[in-house]
């Protein structure tokens, strides 16, 4: 099997390398293995959600509800643990909560034919409310569950487990998108929904499935998050999480209008975003300037992708 490499794919890694070297020039500590691991670890949850979001965006959809879904899944896992269930059951329960949110999104969008941006915006609020109802405003400390904490804080072969999970999910995502019939169907659906329907595809089922995938990824991110800080809270996945996730996908070259996109490019988008975040931190740039700089950079990067897209057509 040979991976199909998008031509645009070369540009982003080059920018990432250049940016890393630039930050490293001012702060040599940035160019160490420890620092690289720290960058990846910070981006693991965003990265996992971005992989799921890529499939949604390929269908010209969007999911704004990933932040609260992350919080909900952490809480569901916490309460399952507290009730005395074993760790694997807690993990499955957390994932199930994310899948349920995704399924509700998916049914309303695919069958009800309502715009994804409105449905998931509503869901953003509904799921946050649900999480607050379940968990209240307090922090819930998770203690005494070694194997649960291992997910977020443990390490394997020198790499944190959360990074392994991100790499694993990214690999699955790349595999699904590149090699499976499902990935092909999602990509053609996004390119032309009517032609897809007339070619005998089950378009509603396909659209539905992408929101389930996205919800499930958000839930996995929620489990990692809660185990990383030994805490579950209804306020995790704060406002802006969904924007980071969507930015990573778009930086990877996916079009909000749907169609072909590459999960591998999303992974590079995640790295790009991570290096900006960590690089600005390590250079002691104040948070207000960080936000402005980050926003500007994203708009410039998007300008370039849409330029190269336009020049091709």
């Amino acid at each position: 099997m040979r991976l199909e490499i998008n031509k645009n794919i070369i540009a982003l890694p080059l920018v990432i390398i250049a940016l890393t070297l630039l930050v490293g020039y001012f702060e040599p500590a940035f160019l160490t293995v420890d620092s690289a691991i720290a960058v990846l670890r910070r981006m693991a949850t965003i990265g996992i959600m971005a992989v799921g979001m890529t499939f949604v965006i390929m269908t010209a959809g969007i999911d704004l509800s990933v932040g609260p879904t992350l919080a909900l899944s952490g809480l569901v896992s916490y309460f399952t643990l507290v009730s005395g269930m074993p760790v694997p059951v807690a993990i499955l329960a957390g994932m199930a909560s994310g899948i349920a949110v995704g399924a509700i999104n998916g049914i309303i969008i695919a069958v009800g034919k309502l715009p994804a941006i409105i449905v998931t915006l509503g869901m953003l609020s509904i799921v946050r409310g649900t999480a607050l109802l379940i968990g209240g405003p307090t922090l819930h400390q998770i203690s005494g569950h070694e194997s649960y904490s291992f997910i977020g804080s443990g390490a394997l072969l020198g790499l944190p487990v959360s990074i392994w999970i991100f790499l694993f999910i990214a690999a699955i995502g790349i595999f699904i998108q590149q090699v499976t019939s499902y990935g092909f169907q999602i990509s053609t659906l996004g390119d032309n929904p009517e032609a897809s329907h007339l070619s005998g595809r089950r378009t509603r089922l396909l659209i539905f499935s992408t929101y389930v995938i996205c919800g499930c990824c958000a839930a996995i991110a929620g489990i990692i998050d809660s185990s990383q800080v030994y805490t579950a809270s209804a306020n995790f996945g704060e406002f802006g999480t969904e924007l980071d996730v969507i930015s990573a996908v778009i930086l990877g070259g996916a079009s909000l209008f749907g169609g072909k996109a590459y999960v591998i490019n999303t992974v590079f988008g995640v790295l790009f975003l991570g290096i900006i975040n960590s690089g600005l931190n390590i250079l002691d740039v104040p948070i207000e300037s960080q936000l402005m700089f980050k926003g500007t950079l994203i708009v410039i990067a998007l300008g370039f992708t849409s330029l190269s897209r336009n020049s091709k057509s």
Binding site: A195, L198, S313
Partner: protein, 504 residues
């Protein structure tokens, strides 16, 4: 006398496809001119050039002797050309007065909108043109015909001396059409020049003075409608049939005469679209349904492919009644549909040739959920060779191919599903001559291997070239079938224009 509108030596080409070829189009003040031609004849391109949406490749446009820049919509409107499109271009949530002066509203001395003056002028305009609306009416609340009248007023408010009307009656009932025609006659008296674009022969003969007929981007006939009749007009539109190959084809057809009946349609009806359609399709034949645009042929095809549901009637496949409610089921039952609009309904434009090729037959290329790219490639390469697709590279993005090659990719995609019945809706619109012949050959080969082909086509030349039997559809009614050879070109044209069908 200076021409009210003079478009001279107009040519326009898109990526090597010549849409208009050295056309002269001049109109006198107060003239109502019909502009007719079948799909792809170049009418739309001409309208777009006249409104300034497209710049012509060559040629000049002038109004009352004053030359317009070309390719600048604002300059064309202020120069005096307005266009009324098939679908309304009014802002539905604004009032009539606001719509009339949208873009050039009167202002008071502070530069703000002068509502009083706007209303006064709107009232004046409405009165002058005997229109039955109030300046305060919300456009969304008006019936379609009044919206059309408001659009005409809007054109007059912009001081237009030439008004283009693109299928203005497509959404109107019969009395409303009469009313619109009265308005046109009134405008004519005031010296306004009108270009009336329509497929409705009745209307053209009722309201127009002269007619211009386009075919393949060229002027084929121009003259007074009083000196011609419907069938010669349709004849001009559709062109002279190619009779050359008919004998050879006749022999071939006789060989496959008694094929199996694969599809039978019985009393199929859909409210307000078509009624009581009856026909059979046999193995090893090409059946064409022809007629003018708007005769609801595509709507009939949609029912056969599960895109829409008939209200009444039945569809039999190999003698078994079937309820086809999704395209997915239609494909499983062995039906393929090459839709009318390849870009909107058929192709995945940002995907490659090979990806498009397998999009309707994925099951054959998937093993336990995994895509067999190697098999995809070989099959796509075979098709590229068989259909003579250029460029012959399976990785090329379909959006960058020419119209003819795109159509071939689409045809290849459906042949890959190995259908019993292949349905094609206007298979060669916007396709160059070479690709047309390639497509015909492939369809002949498919038929000779026992396939059944159903084609909807408005191109009489094409129908005479390729059909074994012909059905004519007019206003949602299907005629009995004719042997394509038994019918002369003139007879077929007469049937299409609706004369003989009415007599029978």
């Amino acid at each position: 006398m200076v021409d009210a509108l003079a478009a001279l030596n107009i040519s326009k080409s898109f990526d090597g496809f010549i849409a208009l070829n050295n056309l002269d189009f001049t109109l006198q003040s107060g003239e109502v001119r019909a502009l007719v031609g079948s799909n792809g004849a170049g009418k739309t391109t001409l309208i777009k050039i006249l409104t300034g949406a497209h710049a012509p490749s060559t040629g000049t446009i002038s109004i009352n002797g004053k030359q317009l820049p070309g390719g600048d919509p604002a300059a064309h409107i202020s120069g005096g050309i307005s266009c009324i499109y098939q679908h309304t271009s009014l802002a539905p949530n604004l009032t009539v007065a606001e719509n009339l002066f949208l873009g050039n509203h009167p202002t008071n001395r502070f530069g703000l909108l002068d509502k009083k003056e706007m209303k006064r002028r709107a009232q004046q305009l409405i009165k002058d043109n005997e229109t039955d609306v109030s300046p305060n009416d919300l456009v969304a609340d008006l019936p379609t015909v009044k919206q059309k009248e408001v659009e005409i007023l809007k054109a007059l408010a912009a001081n237009s001396s030439v008004i283009l009307m693109d299928e203005p009656t497509a959404w109107l009932s019969f009395p409303e059409v009469q009313r619109l025609h009265d308005t046109i006659r009134r405008l004519k008296k005031t010296g306004v020049t009108i270009v009336y674009i329509s497929h409705m022969m009745d209307e053209i003969f009722r309201v127009c003075d002269n007619a211009t007929v386009l075919r393949d981007g060229k002027l084929v006939w121009q003259g007074s409608v009083a000196e011609t009749d419907r069938s010669s007009m349709v004849q001009h539109m559709l062109g002279d049939g190619g009779q050359d190959t008919s004998n050879e084809r006749n022999e071939r057809r006789n060989e496959v005469e008694k094929g199996q009946k694969t599809l039978r349609v019985s009393n199929l009806s859909r409210e307000n679209l078509f009624s009581e359609a009856n026909f059979s399709l046999y193995q090893g034949e090409i059946l064409c349904i022809t007629g003018l645009i708007g005769s609801k042929r595509s709507e009939l095809l949609q029912c056969l492919f599960g895109v829409a549901q008939p209200d009444k009637g039945q569809i039999f496949l190999h003698g078994i009644p079937q309820k086809i409610d999704t395209p997915r089921l239609a494909i499983q039952l062995g039906i393929g549909l090459v839709p009318e609009d390849r870009r909107m309904q058929g192709l995945f434009l940002s995907h490659s040739i090979e990806e498009n090729h397998v999009a309707a037959s994925l099951g054959d290329f998937v093993n336990r959920g995994l895509f067999n790219r190697k098999r995809v490639r070989t099959r796509a390469q075979d098709t590229i060779r068989q259909l003579n697709i250029k460029p012959d590279d399976v990785k090329k993005t379909v959006g960058n191919l020419s119209g003819g090659n795109q159509q071939k990719v689409l045809l290849g995609k459906w042949l890959e599903t190995a259908p019993d019945i292949l349905i094609l809706d206007e298979p060669t619109v916007g396709v160059d001559v070479g690709a047309k012949n390639d497509i015909y050959q492939v369809l002949q080969a498919f038929k000779e291997e026992g396939g059944a082909v159903l084609i909807v086509s408005s191109d009489v030349e094409e129908v005479q070239n390729i059909a074994d039997r012909v059905l004519v559809m007019a206003n949602g009614k299907l005629s009995a079938s004719f042997d394509a050879q038994a019918l002369s070109h003139e007879e077929l044209v007469a049937k299409i224009s609706g004369e003989s069908v009415n007599e029978a």
